[in-house]
Amino acid sequence: MRKISISLAAPVGAFLLTLVVSTIALMAFGSSPTEAYADMLSHASKLETQVDILNRATPFYLSAVAAAIGFRMNLFNIGVEGQYLMGFLFAAQVGGLVSLPQALHILVIMLTAMMVSSLYAGLAGILKTTRGVNEVISTIMLNAIAIGGLIAWLQQKWQGDLGENFSSTSLGTKPIDESGLLPTINGLLELVTREVGQGKELTGMFLVAILVGIAYYVLLNRTRFGFDLRASGINPFAARAGGVPPKRMVLAAMMLSGAVAGLIGMTELADTGKFPPDPIQGLGFQGIAVALLGRNNPGGMAFAALLFAFLDVSSGVLDSTGAASREIAVIMQGIVLLTAVVAYGVANRFRERDEAREAAEVLAAEREVVPA
């Protein structure tokens, strides 16, 4: 019982502390915290907003799982950002060029994204295994190379047919045919809720995200590969002596992480059908935050993704109600992350101490029974 309450205390405590700090931040600039929170919550109680939140949470969750795969092995794949954009771009281009029956078309698109993304991540993995280049710096550099250079250049080359009426909406890669767009699942949703209005559609990637979460859990906890991966993260020396091939693991983990990262852009792609000149950015870093907040745990990351999505989406209403600056959401995300990370460290120590005490008590009890 005590174990569970310690585990829960950490995120709850972090959240409370976040509320305190953001309340102070709001009051410091003359906004009313209660108004702001009330506005956000009431906005979020609408079904349409909730669909938005789920749509927003989906790429967060995928990004978090991608980062978490690395984290479980003590690999810091900061390059999720660059990897998913590369995957997104290539998938959009390939998807626009081919025309296949729906299931196949969608599959080809997703696999392309996953493969490209995985290879790009594998590059960092190779740098680490062959030359010992720290993956934090290499993935950050690869991010910059992708975003600053490669993607911009390829975007130009792959600019779709602009047509006669040049407008901003025709910028981007060649649009994918209907058959390549992953269908939305409002139908499924409406089985349990009322009809969704305002033209909001729940993305089909939501289901994919759930599947990915399940696969992540199974992989990590039930497969031998998952055992190897976790062991490498906990103690690479012991893992090595225990037969886990270190370099192969690093490469495999990075590529797997990259593969999942490739799915991040699929939500946007299924929606717009092309890679636009200004795709949504920052999903890679938010995913890292969600993974840390969720402690690399499939369920925890889901809650964290929903929380971040809630903050992002419902703070949008603050622009129109004027209760506060919508940027408060970003602050809350940052603070909840930092405090949670600290709280987890503290909770860990409590748990370790408890365990040590229990074990020592057992020892002491036995010792007294044995004649000295």
Binding site: T223, R224, A238, G242, V244
Partner: protein, 509 residues
């Protein structure tokens, strides 16, 4: 006779264990006072309290007749107490000088170190006490005996008159121990008081004036070294007999289980740290490798396990060449491994015991297969290990770090021996564990030997080597220099071979 140190009623508790329980200690000025006890008796904790590294929960301390309360080592240093730790506290990437003056740096103008003054003072100390060392060398290039000398210089530099030595002979061979004892006698002659922790009773009897015995955190006896025998001390320490060398009949067969041929290993700088190694271990045989740490034993073990690349030669298990096999393949071929540092190479400290039991065997039944883990099977097996090897724990779900060192080692031994191995590589298998666990581990290894296990044993504990091995091989500078029989060899001879003195003198001293 003035009293240098008087401890009364010292008590110290940690979560779940009482490390020191109403301990009394009286050390007279100018004497060499030994503190004995098995691992876990509370000796180190007591010394840490005396040195100000930890506060006592109860009790009083008097130094040179005055009551003191230490909040940090600085306070102890101010009272003239200096501690030489068992695990050297030296930074490899700093010079001897920097390591010694740290914390007491002579400064000029508020921060700049006065290196001239430091060098002068240091040279004086080393000359006065006859401790030769090059003070501008990086510590990483020093040998074990030299590093210990630096530790002693460190405390003398600060004007220590009461020296605490924590298991100083643990890493030395007999010849180096003699040199240390000479230094100690010289220090005593210069007026120093020396407290030293040791559980090697022959050494204690050789050098000390008085002896205090601790057991389970309590003072069991204090006496003058006057007619005391090792037997008496042992009984006080353990309450029972010490383990003795095994003299039962040989179980060595003709079948070769492990064969090393012309084995050589290079380190990162390209130097050969292991070369010309030829060895055969038969079923039912234990071969013990003796040697001062740093002579290639670690690299030899890594080469056999598969974590180090071999630059020449071959390794074969039961005639099958495994030279190019991965660690996993060798494990699956029947290799078991008890690593030297269980925390670093043997355990996943934050994982539950049943996952630790699977480590190294996760691709084999009952723990798992190529693709899937068998969690139920792993748990059952761990329960079996727990019972058979007497691993004391509340449950197998507990994290490994919660267990004591002895129980952790028993778990490791258990998981390795129950994996049906053909070859066992055991490096320092009883290092840092209490005598009870040590005896259990020795029994388990002997039982496995009777069942046909071939074992390569690496140890710095000469009693362990002599007691367990069928053959002893001495390793020096990366090669085997002598093959000895445990029935005939003495610790002194062994030490001579280990340090090369025997070869220089054309034989054992």
């Amino acid at each position: 006779m003035t009293v240098a140190i008087e401890l009364r009623g010292i008590t110290k508790r940690f979560p779940g264990v009482v490390a020191n329980d109403d301990v009394n200690l009286t050390v007279e000025k100018g004497e060499i006072h030994a503190i004995c006890g098995e691992n876990g008796a509370g000796k180190s904790t007591l010394m840490k309290i005396l040195y100000g590294m930890q506060p006592a929960d109860e009790g009083t301390m008097k130094v040179n007749g005055e009551v003191v309360e230490f909040t940090s080592p600085n306070d102890a240093i101010d009272c003239g107490i200096g501690m030489v730790h068992q695990h050297f506290m030296l930074a490899d990437q700093l010079t001897v000088l920097e390591n010694v003056i740290l914390g007491a740096e002579p400064t000029v103008g508020g921060g700049r170190i006065n290196f001239h003054q430091a060098e002068a003072h240091l040279s004086k100390v080393t000359e006065d006490y006859g401790l030769t060392i090059d003070i501008n060398q990086m510590v990483e290039s020093l040998e074990v005996g030299e590093r210990q000398r630096v530790e002693i210089i460190k405390v003398l530099y600060r004007g220590a008159e009461i020296l605490i030595l924590d298991e100083p002979t643990a890493v030395l061979v007999p010849q180096e121990v003699e040199a240390l004892f000479d230094n100690m006698r010289e220090l005593k002659a210069s007026g120093a008081t020396i407290l030293f922790i040791d559980h090697k009773l022959d050494e204690v009897l050789e050098i000390s004036d008085s002896i205090t015995v601790l057991r389970h955190g309590r003072t069991v006896a204090t006496m003058k070294n006057d007619g005391v025998t090792a037997h008496d001390l042992a009984e006080l320490m353990v309450g029972s007999e010490l383990p003795t060398p095994d003299t039962s009949e040989s179980t060595v067969t003709d079948e070769v289980a492990l064969e090393l041929r012309d084995l050589a290993v290079r380190n990162e700088d390209g130097r050969q740290v292991v070369h010309d190694i030829n060895l055969r271990i038969h079923r039912g045989e234990i071969v013990g490798i003796a040697g001062v740490e740093g002579n290639g034993q670690g690299e030899l073990v890594d080469a056999i396990i598969g974590t180090a690349d071999i630059s020449n030669g071959s390794i074969a298990f039961h005639g099958r060449d495994v030279t190019n096999d991965s660690v996993r393949k060798r494990r699956e071929a029947g290799l078991a491994y008890v690593p030297e540092d269980r925390h670093q190479e043997g355990l996943l400290l934050s994982s539950p015991l049943w996952e630790n039991a699977a480590l190294g065997h996760q691709t084999q039944a009952p723990y798992g297969s190529t693709w899937w883990l068998d969690r139920g099977g792993a748990r059952e097996q761990t329960e079996r290990i727990r019972k058979q090897f007497d691993v004391r724990t509340p449950s197998i779900e507990v994290s490994a770090h919660a267990l004591s060192g002895g129980n952790q080692q028993k778990l490791i031994i258990g998981r390795e021996l129950t994996s049906d191995p053909d070859v066992l590589v055991a490096a320092h298998p009883t290092r840092g564990i209490d005598v009870g666990a040590q005896a259990a581990v020795w029994d388990d290894i002997r039982a496995a030997r009777r069942n046909g296990l071939a074992t390569l044993l690496i140890s710095a504990d000469l009693d362990e080597l002599i007691g367990l091995s069928d053959t002893i091989v001495v390793m020096l500078r990366g090669e085997f220099v002598a093959t000895l029989s445990p029935d005939e060899v003495t610790p002194r001879d062994l030490g001579a071979y280990m340090t090369g003195a025997a070869l220089q003198n054309g034989g054992a001293a």
